[in-house]
Symmetry: C2
Subunit: 222 residues, 2 copies
DNA sequence: TGAAATAGTGTACGTTCGACACTATCCTTC
DNA sequence: GAAGGATAGTGTCGAACGTACACTATTTCA
């Protein structure tokens, strides 16, 4: 492992697949590219890793720059490094994914005169670079984690109903779940607490509000 | 995502945590460093990513250079990029892990005059760089995958006994398993076939030999 | 006050998981 | 050639868990 003159010095970037649940759909954050390559196309937020910056910090910075939110769940996903993934030259991207509660959403749109927005996962157009693949891998990982962790709770605001939580599962897994079984299961996790409040939301019975017992923590279960 | 002058151009390397089962222990492959930094210490095999080389190919090359084996299971693990992880300067390492059947073991020792060897996972000394951490993460990932995939079969030679397979699980999970329940479970996977042969191996009843139905494939189960 | 809409609740069955002990076969030794 | 030592191989039962399934409760609005 000596310095090899034939080895390249690739550009190293991070990209973040930012998920949220909005308008009853699983959506992700995209920014429009203002310069070539792929000028005008939508892409995942991201950027170059600074000289003295940890990879996690770089991803977090990309996330905060585009969403304005901090302290959300962020996890390294996979590293993409096909030699031709960037037409400008060799580039490695360490991909992350993040889960943002729908309440925290305050896009820093136009502040840096960049077009930015939320897009439904199931209506995605072709993205810049290999970003479609990143999105695909992130979605797979997220769906898998639902089965053996409490990661879905990272989507929830401080107070939420069980129906809302069920919708999170259904939108990620892309299938309907049984209401009674679902409630049994999530309550058995022992990670959400009933509050004394209810939410009145339309001409029907109000729903009890719950809160996450350990916000910020994701537990591995079973 | 324009080229940022303040961004660094880190060296990009791959490292591979090569697992095998040998002498009844879970072991991994280490090479002794011949130059600074960490000269004389043991480290994971690895090397710089070549200018036109895919990350997977780079890891595979590091693996083949050190073990001489090809066509083994190799999976990207995690990317390590702490700014100070290499005292020579900024460096990113994309870590992989590989599983090698004990039969294929033919170390290319001394051919490039490099010290190389197998070390028991539970008696590891401090390694160069952040390689202890890589080993730890790889072991965790491997243990987790036992529960929901057929990855353990990648350790097995063409013909093997169920007791040998059980030992693989026990050494990775670090716990004894019940023989009857284990056999029920792995046979229910429907991924290994009984052969007509037995292996005589000491002064006791010979063990039936089995073979992997789809070698090279790792199935996700349940 | 009735209709529409979502919230909330329990049971029964099938499957899976885990604990548990004895017989079979081969080799070695006396 | 009999006995002892060593590993291979085999089945049952109870508990826990997952899954299918339908009706009542509460609110708003017409």
């Amino acid at each position: 492992m000596t310095r090899n003159p034939r080895s390249s010095r690739p550009a190293v970037t991070t990209n973040v697949v930012v998920f949220t649940l909005r308008d009853d759909k699983l959506k992700l954050l995209l920014v429009r590219r203002r310069s070539d390559p792929y000028k005008g196309m939508w892409a995942l937020p991201g950027g170059y890793v600074e000289a003295d910056e940890d990879l996690d910090d770089s991803a977090m910075r990309a996330l905060e720059d585009s969403t304005g939110v901090a302290g959300v769940y962020l996890e390294q996903l996979y590293t993409f490094g096909a030699p031709d993934r960037d037409p400008r030259g060799r580039s490695i991207s360490v991909a992350y994914y993040a889960l943002v509660p729908s309440e925290k959403l305050q896009l820093r749109t136009a502040s840096d005169s960049e077009a930015i927005g939320w897009f439904a996962l199931d209506e995605l157009e072709p993205l810049a670079f290999d970003h479609n693949e990143m999105v695909h891998v992130a979605h797979q990982r997220l769906a898998a984690k639902l089965a053996y962790s409490t990661i879905a709770l990272q989507f929830m605001p401080q107070k939420f109903t069980l129906s809302e939580l069920q919708k999170v599962y259904e939108r990620i897994l892309n299938e309907k779940l049984d209401k009674r079984n679902f409630r049994k299961r999530v309550l058995a996790l022992d990670q959400i607490d009933q509050t004394q409040e209810v939410r009145r939301n339309g001409s029907h019975r109000p729903a009890r509000l719950y809160s996450v017992r350990n916000p910020g923590e994701v537990q591995i279960i079973r």
